[in-house]
Structure formats: structure tokens, C-alpha cells
Symmetry: C3
Subunit: 436 residues, 3 copies
């Protein structure tokens, strides 16, 4: 076993399924920092002596500028050709190391990676594979196990063919980078399972330990996964009051609420933690803000309800309901616009991803809105709808389908204008006043 | 005169005009108990020694299981064939009694029935007929009077032919059940006035006293009459705080508000009595609830206004205005949905009953909604509209007509999607922030 | 110089461009008094010994009944034929005076007219012309200046032909009414610049002093100018609490708020001055009212936001957002109706005046609504839209164009009603309740 342990972080994915968000998934900002800070940097176990990032053309510069607690190097994957290709891209930097293979898009609890490394070293295992139990079929790699060991891994076996209820998650511990790369180079397959096929061969020859993980897990694959990640991140956010925070009378703050510098919170508003309110944001009068992330420089206006939602920087609201929604930066909604989060039948919500209608696994999900979008007054966005960046949505309409980027979407309808036969000039509402 | 006084309660009506409510009228729940509890049981005078209920197939079982302060019996009327048929159905149980004939659908003030019985006994009258003064024509039985006595009763005389301004209401006191039944059996008519014709004959031979009633009166004929009954019932509801009631800060409660066990009321909400809040209901933040009945297990959500409305059990709201409306159980409204309660011209509101456009006698009336209905966000229900049970109403539409049961109602309209020529990415709203 | 100084007030304009407001511009009410009270009466300098009003058929009676600090006379201009015609109409009353020519539609700060008179007397000037600096071309009279003097005035020179950046405003001081009238009578022009051409001639012969005015200025030409005038008037409104004012708990009042007699303000409402709340108005629960004029006898209802808006007498609201809008008296909005005040692109707002699309010079402007208008629930009025008096606007629609007087405007659309395949009767929302 190589005493030199390198974390190789897969961050080269194209993120097409992450639309309408234009941020690279690993750079998606939470609490003012990129997601990678939480998914990798903060979780790096002390056994790791260097990090190799496999990047893409979008995030390469950002990663190259980042500083870490251990030496790091970035290798750019030309085009997103899957995990095996990513590892081959990183080959020059990882071949002579033991490897902890991490996914830049995945978020786990603190301690998992550390436990994996300890287990590998203590048990002198060639590999350790963390896995999570799943009750419904998902298109991932399923493990075949024998007591404490993993004997095989099968990518997307198809529903009914699963060898167990366990799906593999990263980080995988592999004691010898050279052996892994060598097997990868010998795999012949016409599917996206080169890495799993290589592991499968190694599992026949070496001991791979099974490690069941029961903690929180989120993976930024689809845009709604930002809400899963937010939930995990909010759960460990401490209460905080920044400098120059102005909280008016009759504001109720419950639970852990992180309020950054220069935030102003107006009267009769309630904030239920966990919540994050970014720098210089203004929370208006008579709001309720629950279990949400509000970026910097936002204005929530009068009478807004933001519940279980991710709000990027510089978003503006006014008397809106934003439920279980995620909005990138600089999104504005007119008064009375609603991001609905529940079907009439309370059923599971679907969303289209590249023309395919996908189950989101959620029965509460609102809108997913790219940057710079404007939405008119009294407009309703239906559950699971996605809106591309830079699009404008007119007033008083119902949006039931995804709206591409750079669009102007408005309702076509006819007003009937006829002669009014009533005149209220002389009408008296004194009777109504008595009821007040 | 028979010293044995039997109350015969007419509760066999079919209730077709009560649509969209599917509850039997006499069982329509107020404060967790069926309407009959208030319309009959609580008002039974001490002179009554037993009660005979004329039931229908819907309510027969419920009535049979009820316990009363005096012995009771239920006689099921096969089909709803009017009042005379109901009395003939009950004949075996009422023939040897003096009778106090009550309507299970009618609600009067405490004391009326007792006064009627006292008057009959003191004056040794054969009959006593309570009556209310009415200024506009209504299709009921009109009385012809001579001082203190009633000399005739004419069912639906037609506008302009009324013998007086007084219409008969129950409970009628009749000293001899046998005589009444005997006359009923001899009436020949092709209209629904057998009972009145029989009374008319008896009035020629016996003394019927006239008793003007000036108190509250409601009759559950049409669905909006539930609001009339609610008003009367609320007016005598005491203030009450149940066990385990949780009232957050800055909640204002004025007047008589009955708050049942396990109710939670959130911040900045005002409740103006008389009001009833049923068990385990949650009244959200920044609500106003006025002169209303909220059933058990309801959730009003954030920023809801419920005014002069009846809300059944397990209803959910979110930022709604519910004015002068009645909702059966398990109705949910999406954020921003409104039950409008006022015409643009403040005029009287009509509603359709079995294809006929009826005046409701109200200029403030909202929606009448059957059980299990779902209404989408930002949808507007126009005054007097009725929605049948189990129907779903889509988002962002205006419902101006009644919607049958088990329907899915949505708006057909077209979105225009064109290229957006504006881009707000670089736009700066700092100027707007200065106004905040 | 004539020691006798007469203020001649031009108030004879037809006000067509002031539509949809039907009030005469000079009589448009602020704080319960006509605009002329602020634009002229309060600003009259002590040097003025009498006032001559040039009226029109609409306001003549009102002006004739007004009492002023100095003697006044009203001369009715038969039809609105411009400023020169107005002065000729007033000729018998102004010919033997020095003149301070004022515009009844214009509002300036206190002190300007007084300064003009002092300057004229001190410098023994024939004329004094106040002017304001303007950065963009406007169709007004531009001044040609030479140091401290005005050498010419050119009406509507056309963009690029301006002789300076200064446009003339009233009040003009003219030392000799006879000379002015005489020149006016000699002008030959086919345009509406008789007065300016006469001045131009006089400027060649006499000294006209230039006076730069840097204070507030508003002119009631277009309906949105009422908001400009309101801003100026509000800025000097003192804080005041009338008799019998009822302010409930947790009401926040900031800045100068003038609250007249018998006003009621309900819980959890914030009023941010400067604001005026007229007699007997009711401000409901959970409102925010900012920088606005609320007339007498208004009811704002629950949860209304009125920001930078003029509200006439007897208007009713309920959960509305009224932003940067002006409403004449007796206007009512249903719950959820919004007067939107911002374009999706934050751009400048245009409005049609007599078929011409005009820039309003504002990027925040809501609706302009004539008297007795009714607007249904959840309806959206787009920025800059004008609605004529006595019109009714239906529910749930978007109004993007001006609506004439006496109209009934509603949306034409189709509801699709199909069989509902879902039933929520047995559905349980206990999971949702846990999130509350």
C-alpha cells in the first residue's frame, strides 16, 4: 500500500442536467462560497496529502485560483466523457498514489471520508466502497456484497436486476492508482461503465470493504438537488449576527439564523431557522422566511413568504410566495407572483430534463429559475417548472412548462370592452363600514 | 287536549337545493356537532315528553344512534314527498299525542318553542302558529289573521295575493295528532300544500293562536343559508380556551372566540369574535379571522383573511381571502386564490339552483364549495359560485359559473414565447434601494 | 413702474391631457383643499394687491366662490386658446397694473414669487423671468441669456436648436400690463407662441432679468404629474394627530404623518411619512403605507401596500399593491388586484395621451384611474395604464392598455372542464403538518 494518499476530485462534468442554472455545479454558491468548499474542502480527511481536481473548461480557472490546506493541481478534462476518462485525464498526477476518489457534486456529512481512510488503513484493504441503502430503483451502480466485502459492482442493472439494495457512492478508496488506471485502460464496453467494469475486475482479485453510509447525502445532478444540498448545509449552520444588523420592532427569529453584515429586517417579520441571510439583504415588513438561503443584496419587499427555498444574490420580491424553489442571482418577481410548490393532488412532481419527463422524487417542489429572470405581477409558476436565464415572464399568466433562456413569455388573450350599464358614483358603502 | 306532547321533527328532506354540500342538512356540522343539535335538541321545551324524527335514507342511521333527553324514535320517509307525507310516515308514533311540529332544518332562538307550548296550554288553544313578518314576497305559507287568531293559511299565494305580511314557520302546536292526520288523509290537491290545506280546514273549526316571532331565524334550504345559521350560532358562542392552546406573541383576540384544544395561533394574527376555532387547527402568521367558523384540523397558512365564513374540517389555506363563503371539509386553496364576495356594482348576488338563477338575498356572498375540492394558486372564484365535491380547479383562472362534482377545471390559453431583446444582467437597482 | 401689482393666474386650460382625471387641474384636491390653494394662494407674495383669475367653464363657479387674502376677480376664457388669449380675456382687469403672471397648474417652493417681485423692484427691471435648467429637450419656451439678462425667448425650438439649457417657467414679472397686451395684439403667428413672440419684442426694448430657480417644480399637465405635485406638498406636511384618532397595538408611524380626525389604524400596520391620512379613513391590519396621500373616508382593508401613491376620497382596497399610482375618488379594488409600477426591464414608462405614446420621464409609475372605477380581484394593471371614470374592470385579467370611461372590461377566455381522475378524500397531510 502506498502511504501517499491523493484525493482525486471529479469536477469535470458538463452539467447539462443542471439547467436552468448556469453556474458550474461545483461552484454553485452557498453562504457566499462555492459548493466545492463544502463537498470537498471542508471534508478532506487528514490522511490526504494532496488533491487533484479534474476540471472542465467552465470551472478550470476558478479551481486553479483556489487555495487548499494541502497542495493541489487541476487537470482539465477536454470534454465530459465520464468518470474513467476523468481519471485517465488525471493519470499523470494520480498513478503513484493511493486514491480517495471524490465527486465534486456530492455532499455528505463530515466524517465519512475520514472513516473510509481509517478503515482502509486499519484493515489493510485494497478498496473501500461506501454505499447507501435505497428502497426504489435508481440508475446508479449497485453493489453485490458478501458480508463485509464487496464482490462486484454493476452499473445501472435495470429495475428488478439489482444484486442488492445498496448503491455505491464516492469516495472510493483504492490503494493503488496504477492498478486502477491499468484496468481502466483494458476495459472494452460500449456503455458508460468503464470505471465500474475496472472495479469489478479488481474486486475479483483484491479485498474491497463495504461501508454502509446512513448519513445525509445530496448530489447536484438536477437543479432541484440544490435544495437537498441546502437542507444539509443549513442543518449545521450556526446562529450569527453580523455587524451593523438592523432589526426593527416585533421581529421574531427562531432557531439558528445566520444574519450577515448590514442586513436589515423590518417589522412584523418572522424568520424560522435554519436560515441564512446574506450581506446587505433587506427583509421587508410582514414577511415569513423559513428554512431558506437568501443571498447577498436581496430585497424581499412587503409581505413575502419564502419557504424551504434557495435564493441567489440580488433577487427582489414583493408580496410573493416562494415555496421549495431555487432561484439563481438577480431574479425579480412582481407583486403577487407565486412559485407554487404542490400539485392539486399532492402527488409527486415531475420535471422535464432534455425532453424527458423525470420524477423529481419530491411532492413539494416549486420553480427552478436561472439568473436575470423577471416575472410579472400575479403570475403563477407551476411546480417543477424551469425558466432559463435572461427570460422575462409577463404578468397575470400561468406557466406550466419550461421556458428557454433569453425568452419573452406573455399571455395571449382578449379583453372584451363593452359599455358599462352600472354607475357607482352615488353608491354608499356605509353599511359595509359598520362591519369593520 | 292530550297531556302527552310529542315533538315530531321533519328531517326527511332530500336537500337537492343544498348542493354542493353533500352533508345532510340536519347533520351539517357546527362546532363539531350536527346542526340538529342546535335546531331541535337544545331547543326542546320541557313540555315535550318524546321525540319522533322523520328521517331519510341518508341520515336515518345517524339519527337512530343519537341520544336525547327524552325517549325518541326514528321513522324513515322512503322518498321526500313533502310535509304531509312525512307526518303520515310518522302516524303510528304521533296519532295519540298533542304535537309540536318542528323542522330539523330551521334554527330559531332559544325560547320560542317553549313559549308556543305555554301559550297553547294556558289559552287552551287547539293550535298555535308562529309567524314572521316579511317585507318581500317569498314562496312560503302565508297566514290570514283575525286579531290574535289565525283563520287561514295559504301556501305560496303568489306575489300580490298575500293575505298578510306574515309567513308561517314551524313549530306548530296541534292539540290532537289524530285530527290532523285525519284531515291530511282527506285533502285532495295536485300541489305540495296538503298539510296547509288540512290546517286550513281545522282552522275553520278550532282556535289557532297567532304568535309573532321577531327573533333570529335561519333555514338550511340553500347552501348559503349555512352562513345565516352560523351567524346565529356564533352570536351565543362563549369565549373559551381549550387545553394545550399555543398562542404566539402579538396575537390579538377580540370578542368571544372559542378556541378548542391543541389550537396553535401564530404571530401577528388577529381574531375578531364571534369566532370558533376547532381542535388542533393551526392559524398561521399575519392572519385575520373574523366572525367565522373554522373546523378541526385546519391550517390557515401565512397571511390569510377569513371573514364571515364557514370552514369545515381539515381545510388548508395560504395567503387567501375567503369572504362570506362556506367550504365543506378537506378543501384546499393555493396561495393567492380568492373567494370574492362582492360584485363590482355592490349589487345583490344570484346563484343557480337546478338551472334556475336565484336571488340569494345577499350583496356579500362568496363561494360555496363541496368537500375535497382543490383550488390552484392565484385563482379567483366569483361571488355566489358553487363547486361540487372532489373537483380540482386549476391555477390563475376566474371561475364565474358553478362547477359540477368530480371535475378538473382549468383555463385554456396560449403563451406567446418570443426572443427577449432586453437583458437585465448588468442592471443596477441601487437607486431603488435608496427608496426603501 | 406701476406700484399696483396684480397677479394674473392662468387657470383656463382645458386639461384634455389630464385625462382620466375629471377634476379641473387647479381644483384637484390635496389634503382636502384644491390644488390652487397651494400653487397660488399660499405662495402669493405680499407685494401683490389683487388677483385676477382666468378661468374656464368648469372651474369658474368654484373660483368665484373662493376667498383670498387680497381682492380677486374671475374672468372666464370661453375656450382654451392659449396663454395670450387668456391674458387678453383678462385685459380689462390687468391693463393698468404691473403683472405677476402665474400658472394655476404649476407648483413651486414657497419664496420664488416673492423673490421675483423683490428682484424686479430692487433692480427696477421691466421684467423678470424665472427659469429652470433642463438636461433633456422638453417642448417648452427656451431662454437666450446674456449674463444676468434674458435677451430672447423661443417657444419649442426643437431638439438641438435650444439657445440654452434654460426653460422659462411662470411667474413672469412684467412691469406694464398695457405694453404687454399691446404687443400681444400685434403678434402675427400661426403657432401657439403669441405670448412668447410678444415677450421677445419687449426683450429687445426693455431689461428682462434672468432668475434661475433650483427648487422643486411640478406642473399638472399629465395625470402622473399629480404624483410630482404630491411629493412636493408632502415634503412640507407637518406631523399631526386629529381628534378621535384610534391607533391599535403594534402600529409603527415613522416620519411626518398627518392623521386627520376620526382616522382608525389597525394592528401591525406601518406608516412611513411623509403621509397624509384624510378624515375618517380606516387603515386596516398589516398594511404598509408610504409617502402617500389617502383621502377622506377611505378603507384600505387587510394587508394593503400603498406606496408613493395618491388616493382620492372614498376609495376601498383589500390586499392590494398600489405603487406610484394616482386614483381619483370612489375607486375600489378587489383582493389581490395590483397596480404594477415597474417594467420587467426597469425601463422608462410610456403612456398614451390622445393617441400618442408619450414618455412619462419615470421608471416607476403605476396606474392612473378616474373616479368611480371598480377593479376585480387578482387583476393586474400595467405601468402607466389609464382607466376612465365609471369603468368596471373584471377579475383575474391583465390590463395593458388604456380603458375609456364608462366601460365594462373583462377577459374572454375558456375554461376546460373534464372528468377529474384524482380524489383527495382519503389523502392525509399529516406529513405536511410536521413542517409547520
Amino acid at each position: 500500500m502506498n502511504s501517499n494518499l491523493t484525493a482525486v476530485v471529479l469536477a469535470g462534468g458538463a452539467g447539462k442536467r443542471f439547467w436552468p442554472f448556469s453556474s458550474d455545479k461545483t461552484l454553485f454558491p452557498f453562504f457566499g462560497k462555492p459548493f466545492i468548499e463544502y463537498s470537498v474542502n471542508m471534508l478532506l480527511p487528514k490522511q490526504v496529502s494532496r488533491v487533484v481536481f479534474v476540471t472542465n473548461s467552465t470551472n478550470h480557472t476558478a479551481f486553479s485560483r483556489m487555495k487548499f490546506s494541502v497542495p493541489s493541481v487541476c487537470m482539465m478534462q477536454k470534454t465530459a466523457h465520464g468518470m474513467a476518462d476523468a481519471l485517465l485525464t488525471a493519470a499523470p498526477e494520480i498513478q503513484n498514489s493511493a486514491l480517495l476518489i471524490l465527486n465534486g457534486d456530492d455532499l455528505t456529512d463530515r466524517g465519512l471520508f475520514s472513516t473510509i481512510c481509517e478503515k482502509a488503513i486499519k484493515e489493510k484493504a485494497f478498496g473501500v466502497i461506501p454505499a447507501i441503502h435505497t428502497s426504489r430503483y435508481q440508475p446508479f451502480g449497485y453493489l453485490k456484497t458478501d458480508g463485509e466485502t464487496v464482490t462486484d459492482i454493476i452499473e445501472k442493472p435495470g429495475e428488478g436486476n439489482e444484486p442488492s439494495k445498496y448503491i455505491s457512492i464516492l469516495g472510493h478508496y483504492i490503494a493503488d492508482g496504477n492498478l486502477l488506471l491499468s484496468e481502466i485502460r483494458q476495459v472494452h464496453t460500449d456503455q458508460d461503465d468503464v470505471y465500474e467494469k475496472a472495479l469489478s475486475v479488481l474486486m475479483k482479485r483484491y479485498t474491497f470493504l463495504f461501508h454502509e453510509y446512513k448519513g445525509n447525502f445530496a448530489s447536484l445532478k438536477y437543479p432541484w438537488n440544490t435544495l437537498d444540498a441546502m437542507d444539509i448545509l443549513l442543518s449545521s449552520l450556526p446562529a450569527h449576527r453580523g455587524n451593523n444588523v438592523d432589526i426593527k420592532s416585533n421581529v421574531v427569529i427562531e432557531g439558528n439564523v445566520y444574519i450577515d453584515d448590514n442586513v436589515r429586517i423590518f417589522e412584523n417579520t418572522k424568520i424560522v431557522g435554519p436560515c441564512y441571510i446574506g450581506k446587505s439583504s433587506i427583509i421587508g415588513n410582514n414577511n415569513i422566511i423559513r428554512n431558506s438561503h437568501i443571498g447577498t443584496g436581496c430585497v424581499t419587499g412587503f409581505n413575502t413568504d419564502i419557504t424551504r427555498s434557495y435564493i441567489g444574490n440580488h433577487c427582489w420580491f414583493h408580496s410573493n410566495y416562494i415555496g421549495d424553489s431555487a432561484l439563481e442571482e438577480n431574479v425579480s418577481l412582481g407583486s403577487g407572483a407565486v412559485c407554487a410548490n404542490l400539485r392539486l393532488d399532492d402527488g409527486h412532481i415531475h420535471s422535464h430534463v432534455s425532453e424527458t419527463r423525470m420524477p423529481t422524487g419530491k411532492n413539494k417542489l416549486g420553480a427552478l429559475i436561472g439568473g436575470n429572470v423577471r416575472i410579472g405581477v400575479n403570475t403563477s409558476i407551476m411546480p417543477g417548472v424551469k425558466i432559463g436565464k435572461n427570460s422575462f415572464i409577463g404578468s397575470g399568466i400561468v406557466v406550466e412548462r419550461d421556458i428557454p433562456e433569453d425568452c419573452y413569455c406573455s399571455g395571449k388573450y382578449t379583453l372584451s370592452i363593452t359599455r358599462n350599464r352600472e354607475n357607482t358614483a352615488g353608491k354608499n358603502r356605509d353599511e359595509f363600514k359598520k362591519q369593520l
